[in-house]
Symmetry: C3
Subunit: 311 residues, 3 copies
């Protein structure tokens, strides 16, 4: 699986990784994708290892994807949800995770509303830490599964034009995708209302565009982010209908796309808002393949991080 080795006990953000490390994860995920196509979908790679899924912020799809990846690697799994946690009793986050560490756990998968929480934990404990999303900061496994899907469909990432549309300002998915795409040589365009896609993003080497047509007509890939209704209430855009009209991908605006453009979405979809059903379920959509690939990518990062801890 490549010439370079993995030497990190944690996966915290795409920003930290060298492009060779990203490629190693994607290559490893390719191998694991084959495992999930077998009749018996398990390998004993993490047998006897314990993984704690510590989701302080609720999640179904990311938690399920990690949990299934852990099952397929034969790990022992313990789930902790926010509301049952000692955090409610006023314990500090570090005390909670030091307790988890004292239980001789091997890996912690953490989702937390506070940006940086996974980093704080990773620095203070010897367990491996996988960031499953921290505030608006990072969601590295989502970006990795997006990169995997693009590479699988297009054969490469270098030189591809990728447009991300939506609430870039508040999106950890966008941030992690941007860093991953830039590191692997893609060209990135960000699109959406100027309140949600400020010009400042240009400083990190991406194109910012406030017009849908010019944002997508050259794109090889269009990645639509979920519009959260609470943003409307906060005044970032006048109404969901207005957003759908100007930045939604639907039967009309789909015509601007190149015939072989990929349509992606991290889910869950707001059908009729950022994405019309005809497009979500249409031939360009690879949305469900993203989900399938997420499992392979998470198996890969769990495997690499656990392997590093044995050394």
């Amino acid at each position: 699986m490549g010439d370079i080795a993995w030497h990190r006990k944690d996966l915290l953000s795409i920003y930290d990784l060298e492009s060779e490390e990203i490629s190693l994860i994607l290559d490893t995920a390719e191998e694991f994708k084959k495992v999930s196509e077998r009749n018996v979908k398990k390998v004993p790679a993490l047998r006897g290892k314990t993984v704690v899924n510590f989701f302080v912020e609720p999640s179904t799809r990311t938690r399920m994807s990690f949990e299934l990846a852990e099952h397929r690697l034969s790990a022992d799994i313990v789930n902790i949800a926010a509301d049952s946690s000692s955090l409610r009793k006023g314990e500090t986050l570090l005390d909670t995770v030091r307790n988890i560490e004292a239980l001789q756990i091997d890996l912690i998968v953490i989702r937390h509303s506070a940006p940086g929480a996974p980093m704080l934990i990773a620095k203070n404990i010897s367990c491996g830490v996988l960031n499953a999303g921290d505030g608006a900061h990072a969601h590295p496994t989502q970006a990795l599964l997006d990169l995997f899907t693009i590479r699988e469909k297009k054969g490469r990432l270098r030189g591809l034009k990728v447009t991300i549309i939506g609430d870039i300002l508040h999106s950890r998915v966008a941030r992690s995708n941007i860093w991953g795409l830039l590191k692997l040589g893609a060209e990135v365009t960000l699109a959406g209302p100027s309140t949600l896609v400020p010009r400042d993003f240009e400083k990190i080497g991406v194109r910012v565009c406030h017009d849908l047509r010019s944002a997508i007509e050259d794109a090889d890939v269009v990645n639509l982010l979920r519009i959260q209704h609470e943003r409307q209430r906060a005044g970032f855009f006048p109404s969901v209908n207005e957003y759908a009209r100007f930045f939604g991908l639907n039967e009309t605006t789909e015509k601007y796309l190149k015939p072989d453009a990929l349509v992606m979405h991290p889910g869950p979809i707001n059908r009729g808002v950022e994405l019309a059903s005809t497009v979500a379920d249409g031939p360009r959509s690879v949305i469900l393949e993203q989900v399938t690939n997420g499992l392979a990518v998470r198996m890969a990062v769990l495997f690499l991080v656990a392997g590093c801890m044995n050394k």
Copy 2:
């Protein structure tokens, strides 16, 4: 295990099944009941298969019974509860289950408050779907464990007189039992206040009776349904005490029963309402045996449905 083979990827309702299919499930459950009596209660039948328990409506006993059945078949298990689900974020049910399917799950066990939800899902995805109760529509595994218990205790179903007492109108347990009993040749009487047991039920070939004594004095089996207090508030009967007096099985009304009549209840029991403790814990009661048999029946349906998917 019988001459006929199982050819369904789903178990959605008893109504759909041929009597031979019901008998095949009961015969298979007999074999699995023996597994649970061993010291090591596991068989490797579903090793490497993944089952998602998707309980959109809360449940303890049915969820536990399915989860234990899955453990004993060596499946990998993921639980999703309603409140942690993406449904809360406005995702459609079909999008949620298509995501589950994209994670290469093998079987989904679903409980949902909407009648028909399991059918909708089963039509749209390739995973096997087991209905663990949908609204007032169907609860096939409950009916199967009731049939199993009667057949085990009485040696047969054909020609037996079975009386179901309670809120038939709102009960998925009653509906599934009625179809199963009729298909296997039993005679069914429904009893309760006329608001909860309308005469219309006679059209499907059962006897409707609004007097407890005449409903139970010939019965080989009496199955009491749980009375839900919210029905009283909705005006279906004047008070729980009134219900208990006219339709409860207690020391007085038990005397109408034949000596060898079976007393059944799907649980949880409202002691002192539909069933007095002396009867619930008395010699005619097979209530806890129903629970034990539920495990065997659920192992059987998981096994049959999973086996069909491998073909």
Copy 3:
């Protein structure tokens, strides 16, 4: 593992146990502690056995510790939380656990807010019952892990001076510790405000002390209990700050301790209240080792109780 054998199907309280039984658990835990230091941390001791973690009162750390112990013994695990339980539907506790028993479970680990609930259950069902904390009554595995930690660090328990500080009145941890320490020959001092540490405790053979310095200056071990803010509201002490000033262990009061005194805490810590961070994280603290030892102790009791059930 000692000359005496284990002959109980339940672990309900330390009060019930002979000192030889306590020592047997501690000796067995020593063996299991070695398992957790291996690369593959599992033994097949409970393979095919089913353990239900029935936490009617919420808990993270005790539940996690039990769940990990069960994983390491290769048990099948089912978790039931209070809010999803049939108890909400008005089912009696005994009916709920008789249902669990009917599902052919082997062991139930129960936490309940009602003192005596585990005993009630244990008397009525054939499954093994492990008390994971019942009201203010008992928390035997916490006491056992405290005894284990002291014995490991000090080489013995007989003749040691152990001081427990805090809300003794409402603490199951204190009660179970007191019985365990007395049975194994330690001298126990209880300290705290007189509202929370009444003189009545002297009748069971312990010293009661309302002055911190005299309570700790001779102590080999100081065990601090978590101060619950709701006690302040109930008028047991004037304010948390006042409590911290008179009974908190901090940089100033730590000077009264012997150099080799152990500082213990069952967690979660209220930093700055009963324990200052300098002490909690200082060289005398064995708080995280208590957590690690809890896993070994719980493996030991699960193993002993399950072994007894096979006979």
